[in-house]
Symmetry: C2
Subunit: 343 residues, 2 copies
DNA sequence: CATGCCATCCGAAACGTTTCGGACAACCGG
DNA sequence: CCGGTTGTCCGAAACGTTTCGGATGGCATG
């Protein structure tokens, strides 16, 4: 293993200057900086993390904590999430530590342990809940993190999110404009912030059209095809109050809705309209469904790069204001919406 | 943060003795050991792992390098693999670093880079190829690793493998005993060691029954349903030389074979017999197929725990001989095999 | 020519731990 | 009483990095 001392010997420089050259400090001439960097590459020098961490507070390690819920539909996104993060952190020179927590272990204590004993510089936090305990801890402890999603409208930490209020609003409004008044929303798991944001958008659009909010039309469950099938049938069974249109939280749910409706002998969009939010997941394409599904779309796989970038920049001291991104989903009209049939 | 120095001051002892007391070394009296441990707990002492790692040369980090092949069917195992590893390493007090390599980057150089910083203590290596360059490098560099699979019959490194020779042998032999003589084998990707081992078992069984090996009946491709469908149809199309039985490398392939045969109007097992190796993957259950699939079974998800255990034990200095495990797959007879129909 | 400034460099300390080599006393057998 | 053993202890070095405080020489300014 090559150390700074080896380099300094080889270059006839002090250890100090070599270190400063490699870390792009100010008081080292351009010529020697070049010389040092070339030699470092040539001798295949890699800084010793432990030594660096001992003297600075930093380890060059970033973490992602997940809890293992076997067989949940999210699992299919897992490669995308973890692979994407890892790849981008590797490029930023950070090592990506994946910690799979025991499901019965307290979430916060996992973070605490990793911070105090494991020396992890910062975290990527996914899937925020309302009043998220992890966020509360990380904020209080002053540990850097980046969030996929948001806690509130204007947080003071780095985040990457899409405008889920608008997603809810636009999908609902589109249906309202076509004349629908009983609109069911098969949303995601309760307690998630993005689900709440979409609900807010939904209610805002209803309010604009003076349509009362009917709690029974808002369904919350883990996003899956099964949820779509089940709740479609349950909702359509209440004949007199059955919805004329459905909003699906993602394309898996939408696929379930399609199947549920087909099972009931109903056609999309002639009998019932359907719209969805489309994360552009690898396995279900809204445009390839029959009929093609009208949706707001926003590729989930584009999240990992900015998340990784934001966290490494945050560790490097970049101001929070530059590390916040709120994307708007794109509304794509296809063939799954028609005016409601009168009953 | 309390350090050893703080403790030594408070206890009126040397730093050395405090360290030795806490680490249960021999030459410290029982009395002071107690005294030290109580004080440590009282002052809430946490050893600084960076300092410890600096002096011991260990980082406490273990790595898994994967290359990102988007959309390959392996992706569905990814959560299982990575999640399982992470969980078990966390229990062993090791941090699990996942490195997603750029597909165009040289495999070996990735390892070299990770090793040379004193960064990573050891690796888990998956999916060994014949003449695997990663193994060659790790062996030469003296970096600890554990392999899922084997290089050769009796390697000198820790590994966890199942007896793939026997898998090939038993499945083939079972079909031979039922009278089959033209047996197709839809195996895995070429170049993998386990694929070669299964092929060897297949050939050994054929030889015992004096059945010549027909190269055209051995098909190698990435394990997927599509492979099963395609090659079943291609093989059955050569009417006069069509196989009377199929061996599938895993249950995805088997599912493809079932579908291919159904598409051709052929029944299992009346017209064609099928057997497979079953990794007990989460999404396709051999016993739940129609007809239930006769298979050798060996749960893949039981691999991760021993792999993690072997690697951490290897790092702790346990002898290699105790860190090698070769499991036999269990042969389960179900309803997918019948004697061949005479043509 | 004296002064100050700038660019470039270096020695040494520091981070907190483990461990090597030795010190000191007490005790034992001869 | 002596040599050796045993049970406790300690000082100091080492791990590889960053960084503080200064050192040196060249150059322009007055």
């Amino acid at each position: 293993m090559t150390t700074l001392k080896d380099l300094s010997r080889a270059l006839n420089l002090s250890v100090t200057q070599v270190s400063r050259a490699l870390n792009d400090h100010s008081d080292v001439s351009e010529a020697t900086r070049e010389r040092v960097k070339i030699a470092a590459k040539h001798l295949n020098y890699q800084p010793n993390i432990s030594a660096r961490r001992l003297v600075t507070g930093r380890s060059g390690l970033v973490g992602l904590v997940m809890s293992y819920m076997s067989e949940s539909p999210q699992d299919r996104q897992f490669l995308d999430v973890v692979g994407g993060m890892s790849k981008h952190f590797a490029r930023a020179g950070l090592q990506f530590v994946l910690h799979m927590a025991d499901p019965d272990e307290d979430e916060v204590s996992v973070y605490r342990k990793l911070v105090s004993g494991g020396g992890i510089d910062g975290f990527v936090v996914l899937d925020p809940k309302i009043n998220d305990k992890r966020l509360a801890y990380l904020k209080k402890a002053g540990v850097p993190f980046v969030l996929h999603g948001r806690d509130c409208v204007a947080p003071d930490y780095p985040f990457f999110d899409i405008d889920n209020f608008r997603v809810g609003y636009e999908l609902t409004r589109h249906l309202l404009e076509q004349g629908h008044r009983r609109i069911a929303f098969l949303n995601g798991s309760p307690g998630r912030t993005y689900v709440a944001h979409r609900t807010d958008g939904y209610r805002a659009a209803l309010a604009e059209f003076d349509v009362p909010f009917v709690p029974g039309l808002m369904r919350n469950d883990q996003m899956s095809e099964g949820f779509g099938i089940r709740d479609t049938i349950r909702l359509m069974d209440k004949v007199s109050q059955a919805p004329t249109a459905f909003i699906a939280g993602n394309t898996w749910i939408a696929k379930g809705i399609y199947e549920g409706l087909r099972a009931l002998g109903l056609r999309v969009p002639q009998d019932v309209s359907v719209v969805a939010h489309d994360d552009l997941l690898p396995d279900v394409h809204a445009g390839a469904m029959l009929p093609p599904l009208t949706a707001t779309e926003s590729p989930l796989h584009l999240s990992w790069e900015p998340l990784a970038r934001f966290l490494s920049a945050s560790l490097a001291g970049t101001d929070v204001s530059e590390l916040q991104s709120l994307d708007a989903a794109r509304f794509v009209q296809r063939g799954s919406v028609a005016p409601p049939v009168p009953r």
